[in-house]
Amino acid sequence: MSIVFQRPHALIDKPLHYCPGCTHGIIHRLVAEVLDELGIEGTTVGVASVGCTYNSYEYFNCDMVQAAHGRAPAVATGIRRSLPDRTVFTYQGDGDLAAIGTAEIVHAATRGEKITTIFVNNAIYGMTSGQMAPTTLVGQVTTTTPFGRKPELHGYPVRVCELLSTLEGAVYVERVAVNNVQNIRKAKAAIKRAFQVQAAGLGFSIVEVLSICPTNWGMSPDKSLEWLRDNMIPHYPLGNFKNVALPGETPAADGSDK
């Protein structure tokens, strides 16, 4: 009998601490599967950030560095510049990346740092119990927008992929979701390509993953998946924003590299 499905080697065999229904577990698994498939677990250094995934170093089997809030892209820059033959990724949430760490992510992308960012957007601060994130949708109720996010008081939700895709150093930018099997498969393909782009030395790559937070959204996991589909995807359209030809691929004739 052959084994057709098992835990990726790059994912340590221990219980995850995430809340029931949280999709971080899926995203961890996708990253680990990609590390396995590309055979790069032993040559990869991951950077954990601050938020629910502060201790993702407990789960990934590659070397890991824990960074201060928002600083993961700067830490990753230091690592990658010191280890030019290694793969370096950051795993960051929306508060970490799109609020306190905005400068670090924008400038890592601007410099075209050869790192890969997995950006998990669940439209809320999870770890600190459900405050408004930069990505919280208009009208969304959080513990710091108890009457819903109002643009006149709280501004508008930021679209990170659209923002970063204007930068020349960011060569691969894609938004995916993990709300159904089809999208999960697309998410894995995007994560894999982001790592391949890094391996080819082409520049900065980021995959934004729309994710759910049943605990802080105050919904069941299945209702959360519906909420993601009905509310997040319309504001955060899925798809590729920027692509680049990998070695051996033919660039698109229109010059878009898509």
């Binding site: 677990e41 032993g42 040559t43 990869t44 250094v45 950077v47 954990a48 502060y54 201790n55 170093y57 990934f60 089997n61 590659c62 070397d63 890991m64 560095v65 824990q66 960074a67 201060a68 600083r71 700067a74 830490v75 990753a76 820059t77 230091g78 690592i79 990658r80 510049r81 010191s82 280890l83 290694r86 400068a103 670090e104 924008v106 400038h107 410099r111």
Partner: protein, 352 residues
């Protein structure tokens, strides 16, 4: 050679190939020198988007196991304190240069010593210490920067080389040794890729469980105890039989050396205790001379910061007076002498 350029050259000679900086007066020549040299020798120079990013790049590079450095001046150092605290907690060997200017706030760009508190007393959050080295000139700057890398690696701890603005801006002759005393321990803890040959390494400063964090901090304090026992450096001059002892470092110590000569002409013997390590502080030198007949005078380019440590070391056994200038001013030879004369004649002074 200019002090700031010597800092960069010393770092290169100590094997530093990764520098991350952000422009700020009066230390920017470090970055200029590094930008040129790193490109020539294939090292890493990154002009970061902020001091915050620069220190975190150093954090990343040190995590990967290489010798890494950043340099800045006081307001920039304030921003780096977050990263320094994390590096201390994660036990990372990093080197930080602080060429001090006057504050608070944007303050001014002229030399000062008013970063003593933020560098010696922590600055960032949590229970930790930086090793803080204070040169009095360009030659010593060179030697201490090389030593900083060795100490950082030896103790897996942030090391700060702190000089007032003059230390960065002055030009003096410097002799580079042909054979640097470079000690480079193995770093089996580094996060540089496991090659699947060992369990994965983790660099972190977070310990959620109280007992685990307490054990970690206690481990750090065992290390600090060893540093206090082994790494104190102090320059003691003319203290045997002195009437008054001046405590000063950096530029103030240089001025004091002339005050010693002037005072001798007036029949007053002045000693100097010049801490070279501000942390660990040379307590024993002060204990040894605690009974100096007329007391101590602490001279600083601040409103009085190091004097706290002088008083702790003297431990109530004697008077500790203060003379300082700030805003970019330097205590003058004649002004210090006047304070010494007052103290020696029992006519008072700024008793703290």
């Amino acid at each position: 050679m200019k002090g700031n350029e010597v800092i960069a050259e010393a770092a290169l000679r100590a094997g530093c190939r990764h520098y991350f900086g952000y422009p700020i007066t009066p230390q920017t020549e470090v970055a200029h020198y590094m930008a040129r040299k790193m490109e020539e020798i294939g090292g890493t120079f990154v002009q970061a988007e902020s001091e915050v990013a620069a220190i975190n790049m150093v954090y990343g590079a040190a995590s990967a196991g290489v010798r890494a450095m950043t340099s800045s001046s006081s307001p920039g150092i304030s921003l780096k304190q977050e990263g320094i605290s994390y590096a201390a907690g994660a036990e990372l060997p990093i080197v930080v240069i602080d060429i001090v200017r006057c504050g608070p706030g944007l303050g001014g760009i002229l030399p000062a010593q008013c970063d003593y508190y933020q560098m010696v007393k922590g600055g960032g959050h949590g229970d930790y210490h930086n090793i803080v080295l204070a040169p009095q000139g360009v030659q010593e700057m060179y030697e201490l920067v090389v030593d900083a890398f060795n100490l950082a690696d030896k103790y897996r701890n942030p090391v700060v080389v702190m000089g007032d603005g003059y230390m960065g801006q002055m030009m003096e002759a410097v002799e580079f040794r042909d054979q640097e005393k470079i000690e480079r321990p193995e770093k089996p803890w580094a996060a540089c890729g496991s090659e699947m040959k060992r369990p994965h390494n983790t660099i972190t400063s977070i310990y959620i469980e109280a007992d685990v964090l307490e054990a970690h901090v206690r481990h750090m304090y065992e290390k600090y105890k060893a540093i206090e026992e082994n790494e104190v450096r102090v320059d003691v001059q003319n203290c045997e039989g002195a009437d008054v002892i001046i405590a000063a470092y950096g530029t103030c110590a240089r001025v004091t050396k002339n005050v010693i000569k002037d005072a001798a002409k007036l029949g007053i013997k002045v000693g100097l205790i010049r801490p070279i390590t501000l942390w660990p502080f040379p307590k024993k030198a002060f204990e040894q001379y605690a009974k100096v007949p007329k007391g101590f005078l602490t001279v600083e380019m601040s409103m009085g910061q190091m004097i706290d440590d002088v008083k702790l070391a003297v431990n109530g056994q004697n008077n500790v007076y203060f003379y300082g200038r700030t805003g970019g001013n330097v205590p003058g030879q004649k002004d210090i002498l006047a304070e010494v004369v007052k103290i020696a004649r029992g006519e008072g002074g700024d008793l703290r």
